[in-house]
């Protein structure tokens, strides 16, 4: 999924909370989109965001290209298994219809946009800032007796483990390739067989890390008490307001389109 990329852009300077709120607006917008004009609007939004965040197009392209098999599968599923009405071509249970084509393209584009926007969020926000923001946004849950401090703690552990484990998985994958595992082979069967040599060590690594972390936390005296509420002084900048309003606008336009 990628990691934080240090930088100096407007997005990097924006508060985590703001970005998270904007992200939820955009998320809604993406899910609501179903017209050509809507997708064009998303396209413009994504382009502008990438430019503002200072993430290379190449980098973004790589993230998307990595999932090309996944995209192809969703697209083909939608293309072949849509309703047989008005089909261009039919055979047994397979029907290719304009509606199926549209549906397939729509789903793929939505997933691509989700990927792009979450990549921007993660690339411009440090894990610490992201969990801090979650903690603030989850505060209202306290009403229902859920301790947001602990919830945020769990989330922060989860978020911080992503880069650690992905690094570890990468190492193990390379180690098994060096021993002759057939990831590089074009055959799906070979690749499938090489899954276990990576999955097992990664799971073991996850358990090991979790154990270490639990011990380290205990050794430093972590108890299940009320986590000190972070002092959150809201110092709202113009750019925070602009960002929230703009993303909200995208969402509302999407509803209207």
């Amino acid at each position: 999924m990628g990691q934080y990329m240090p930088g100096n852009s407007v997005f990097h300077k924006m508060r985590g909370t703001t970005k998270l709120i904007c992200f939820f607006w955009i998320l809604t917008a993406v899910l609501l989109t179903d017209s050509a004009a809507g997708f064009f609007l998303l396209f413009l939004t994504a382009g502008a965001s990438i430019a503002l965040a200072g993430i290379g197009l190449r980098n973004m392209g790589k993230t998307i290209a990595r999932l090309k098999v996944f995209f192809s599968v969703i697209f083909l599923m939608n293309l072949f298994f849509f309703s047989p009405e008005q089909a261009w071509w039919s055979c047994w249970i397979f029907h290719i219809s304009p509606a199926g084509f549209e549906q397939g393209a729509g789903v793929v584009m939505r997933v691509v946009f989700l990927l792009v926007f979450s990549r921007i969020l993660i690339a411009t926000t440090t894990p610490v800032e992201l969990t801090g923001a979650l903690e603030i946004l989850l505060l209202p849950l306290g009403v229902f007796g859920i301790s947001t401090g602990e919830l945020a703690m769990i989330l922060s552990v989860a978020v911080q483990f992503i880069p650690i484990l992905s690094k570890e998985a990468d190492q193990i994958r390379k180690a098994q390739i060096a021993r002759g595992a057939k990831f590089e082979s074009g055959h799906l069967r070979d690749r499938a067989k090489s899954v276990l040599p990576v999955v097992i060590p990664v799971f073991l690594a996850a358990f090991r890390r979790a154990d270490e972390l639990a011990l380290a936390m205990e050794a430093r005296g972590y108890r299940k008490t009320k986590a000190q509420r972070k002092q959150c002084k809201f110092r709202v900048h113009v750019r925070d307001v602009q960002a929230v309003v703009l993303s909200c606008a995208v969402c509302i336009t999407q509803i209207l389109l």
């Binding site: 990329m5 240090p6 930088g7 390379k174 180690a175 060096a178 021993r179 002759g180 060590p201």
Partner: protein, 284 residues
């Protein structure tokens, strides 16, 4: 088997946007059968270099030739590369996954087209080379061993394919003194039998003892390259690049300050001992 790097540059994907290179324009030739030590402080690019040599990372620019063939060219047989080049990662025990030691070690032979008997013969050799009694451990679970033993099992799993080039990325980190020196001896033996060895290490003492040549990296560039004696003779540079120096060299410096005269600059205990003996024989 020789290794040739031409103008190798590399940059990690997450660093592309701010142009921080992990390696820049590295030129390197390593001849058949050399024992090369790679040094440099953390983050200077040692692991990246090693993984590029092993074909585990594709370089951004430049070519890697193993035995004269460009390994990143289309049509190059990667299977051959995997067989020729063995790579021991920093914590090799983390890669264990099989149910028995025997299957774990044999994993690298899975696609070699060998018969069961031939494979078991190789597994036996590799495990015995790493100091295990084959019959006793073959059916055990690799997870049931101690950390140091697991590491030796994992290394056996690399040695089993009898690689011509052996790359080791700080394999002794966290090992006890005895396992460390026995690993050094095993690798030196493999080197004598003809394997080219690339050893990444912070341990100047052992590199002085075994390596023919030491390469020092700094910010993705090769800044020193030569026999251990030459590299460690340059004290300003070894301090600048934070690679330390061998204990024997430190002791000989101290003795020199007290008036001892050495004909050469001893870098291993053996040399130091020889020189001291000579000194006393001559001067009394």
């Amino acid at each position: 088997m020789s290794i040739e790097l031409n103008q190798i540059s590399f940059c990690y994907a997450s660093h592309t946007s701010y142009g921080e290179y992990a390696l820049r324009e590295v030129e390197l030739f390593i001849g058949d059968g050399e024992f090369v030590g790679i040094m440099g402080h953390t983050g200077c690019g040692k692991t990246t270099l090693a993984q590029i040599v092993a074909g585990l990372l594709p370089p951004f620019a430049g070519t890697v030739k193993i035995d004269g063939y460009d390994i990143n060219k289309k049509g190059y047989d990667r299977k051959l590369l995997r067989k020729k080049v063995g790579f021991v990662f920093q914590y090799p025990e983390h890669q264990l996954f099989e149910t028995t030691v025997e299957r774990e070690v044999a994993f690298g032979l899975k696609y070699g087209g060998l018969s069961w008997n031939e494979r078991m013969e190789r597994v036996k050799d590799a495990l015995e080379c790493m100091g295990f009694a084959f019959e006793r451990v073959r059916k055990e679970s690799p997870m049931s061993f101690s950390g140091g033993e697991k590491r030796r099992i994992a290394i056996a799993g690399v040695l089993v394919s009898d690689p011509d080039i052996l790359i080791l990325d700080e394999p002794t980190a966290g090992l006890d003194a005895k396992s460390r020196s026995s690993l050094h001896k095993i690798i030196a033996k493999l080197n004598q039998r003809g394997a080219t060895v690339l050893w990444i290490s912070h341990d100047a003492d052992s590199l002085c003892k075994y390596a023919d040549r030491i390469i020092v990296l700094e910010k993705g560039k090769i800044v020193m390259d030569g026999p251990p004696r030459e590299v460690f003779a340059d004290q300003t540079k070894t301090e600048q690049y934070q690679i330390g120096t061998s204990q024997a060299r430190v002791i000989s410096e101290m003795l020199q300050k007290r008036g001892f005269k050495f004909e050469r600059k001893p870098i291993t205990y053996q040399e130091l001992l020889d020189d001291l003996c000579n000194y006393f024989k001559k001067g009394g």
